[in-house]
């Protein structure tokens, strides 16, 4: 799978779930791109944040990642 295909798979996956859940652990992304190594996936996910497709959500102790602008907590921070 190429990087672009991986990005596409991730976006499709997140969009499919966005009604019930908008934030995911890094590990949850592994199953969206099954033929890549964790480190490669991590790098792609972080790149997608740089590119503005995804965003981090941090509890301070743990980081979750989701589609930019999605999720219920947003109202509170705006």
């Amino acid at each position: 799978m190429t990087e672009d295909e991986a990005k596409k798979a991730i976006l499709e996956n997140l969009q499919g779930k966005s009604k019930t859940k908008s934030k995911f652990y890094l590990k949850d992304f592994y199953s969206m791109v099954p033929d890549m190594k964790p480190r490669e996936i991590k790098n792609i996910v972080n790149k997608m944040v740089q590119e503005g497709h995804l965003e981090y959500w941090s509890s301070g102790s743990t980081t979750l990642i989701g589609l930019k602008g999605m999720g219920k907590q947003h109202q509170e921070e705006d």
Binding site: Y25, K42, S58, T62
Partner: protein
């Protein structure tokens, strides 16, 4: 008199120990911080907690500087109307210099920066070692980061599922016990893993800490997933004249650490020889002897007689893995994994080791599972296999007492496939 009435907190201005309440009030009265109402409103909301006995903070969120998944932690108070000055009150973690030396000039630059972009309140330092800027609003984060990196040549620390800001003891800069250069190691390892520090990479947090000797001043054995603790392999160096001077009372034992109380005359037999955990020392005819092969380097004799005894010269570090606070499986201390490693720049051996550990943890670790828990779940044997280390009796306190060994098929001659018909030729049904 502050903006809010704070009779409970005012009780904490009494007594001799430095009062954080007085300090916050001083900032509120005299400070030049841009978020003018923050210190007063912090006192206000804390007073409310003192009355209610519960916190008034919420936290977490998307706030951060662009592209970083760590370093900023969103905080919001749950009474924003009453305390608008702390309605949004985010934490900024700034990566401290190794062992926290500063010049007054640089300290003032940090103060200037934080006056321009925040509450004027800090933690020097946070639990993990960062310079913590306590409380600012989202609009200040990007300008603060810009000035931090451009004007102060300085980066943020870690938070979330990242490598956390590494920390070290003061090492060779001011301590005769330092067995390796903790400060340089900490600095180089921090810089080598900036990606892991700033962007989420792991199932949960990961900490490095670097202690220069087994006294463990930076608590690495209890507080870091990878604990690097200085040690040596050769002999403790003895200055027999100085030993005699301690025995004779000319030198102050313990470097004076017990001097506020009369413990009687220094007794080398009772205080050093008999206290040695491996009984590897003796003193007679004015001469101290150490059977160095039996020494476990507990540091006691060196601590008691620092002018007579010095660490050996073949120095390096032991590397231990897996310490963590109680969440979830219970608190763990790090387990001795590499008894001895030379610690010299560019620290390739250490980097190679930790990268193997990370690859395994990224692959196998469950969400929010610390390394120490993963090792417990998958077994120490599996961990050693992954990092390609041979087992060593130094890694355990004692061998297992239960005989339930999970033999692997390839370890047993002939494997597990057997011929039942051949068996039946000799054994009737």
């Amino acid at each position: 008199m502050g903006k809010h009435n704070t009779p409970m907190l005012d009780e904490l201005e009494k007594g001799p120990w430095p009062s954080f309440v007085s300090d916050i009030k001083q900032q509120a009265d005299k400070g030049k911080h841009i978020l003018k109402e923050a210190p007063n409103d912090l006192l206000g909301i804390m007073e409310m907690s003192y009355v209610d006995k519960v916190t008034h903070w919420k936290h977490g969120g998307i706030v951060g500087v662009f592209g970083y998944g760590g370093g900023i932690i969103g905080r919001y108070c749950d009474q924003p109307q009453m305390f608008p000055g702390v309605a949004h009150f985010h934490t900024v973690r700034v990566n401290q210099p190794s062992s926290k030396y500063y010049t007054s000039d640089y300290l003032r630059k940090l103060c200037d920066l934080w006056e321009r972009h925040g509450s004027g309140l800090t933690n020097m330092h946070g639990s993990t070692g960062d310079i913590v800027f306590l409380g600012t609003t989202t609009d200040h984060l990007e300008p603060l980061f810009y000035e931090l990196t451009h004007d102060l040549n300085q980066d943020l620390g870690g938070s979330g599922s990242n490598l956390r800001t590494p920390e070290c003891c003061l090492g060779m800069s001011r301590c005769q016990f330092a067995c390796y250069d903790t400060e340089e190691t900490c600095h180089q390892m921090t810089n080598a893993y900036q990606e892991e520090l700033h962007r989420p990479a792991f199932p949960y947090k990961f900490k490095f800490k670097f202690d220069g000797c087994p006294n463990g001043c930076v608590a690495s054995i209890a507080r870091s997933d990878m604990s690097v603790i200085g040690t040596w392999r050769d002999d403790i160096r003895i200055d027999q004249a100085a030993v005699k001077a301690y025995v004779g009372g000319e030198l102050k034992p313990n470097a004076g650490a017990h001097s506020s109380r009369d413990w009687g005359k220094f007794d080398i037999q009772a205080e050093v020889i008999n206290r040695c955990p491996t009984e590897c020392m003796c003193y007679g005819d004015g001469k101290l002897e150490i059977n160095n092969a039996e020494c476990v380097r507990c540091m006691h004799c060196l601590n008691v007689m620092p002018r007579a005894l010095r660490i050996g010269e073949d120095r390096g570090a032991s590397v231990l893995f897996g310490a963590k606070a109680p969440i979830l499986e219970g608190a763990q201390m790090s387990t001795l994994t590499v008894p001895f490693m030379k610690m010299e720049a560019p620290f390739d051996e250490l980097k190679e080791l930790v990268e193997k550990v990370w690859d395994w943890w990224m692959e196998e670790g469950k969400n929010r599972e610390r390394l120490g828990e993963l090792i417990q779940r998958k077994s120490m044997q599996e961990f050693l296999r992954v990092i390609e280390l041979d087992p060593d009796p130094r890694m355990v306190d004692e061998p297992r007492s239960n005989p339930y060994i999970f033999w692997k098929e390839e370890e047993v001659e002939g494997g597990w496939t057997r011929d039942i018909d051949a068996y039946r030729k000799k054994h009737l049904r």
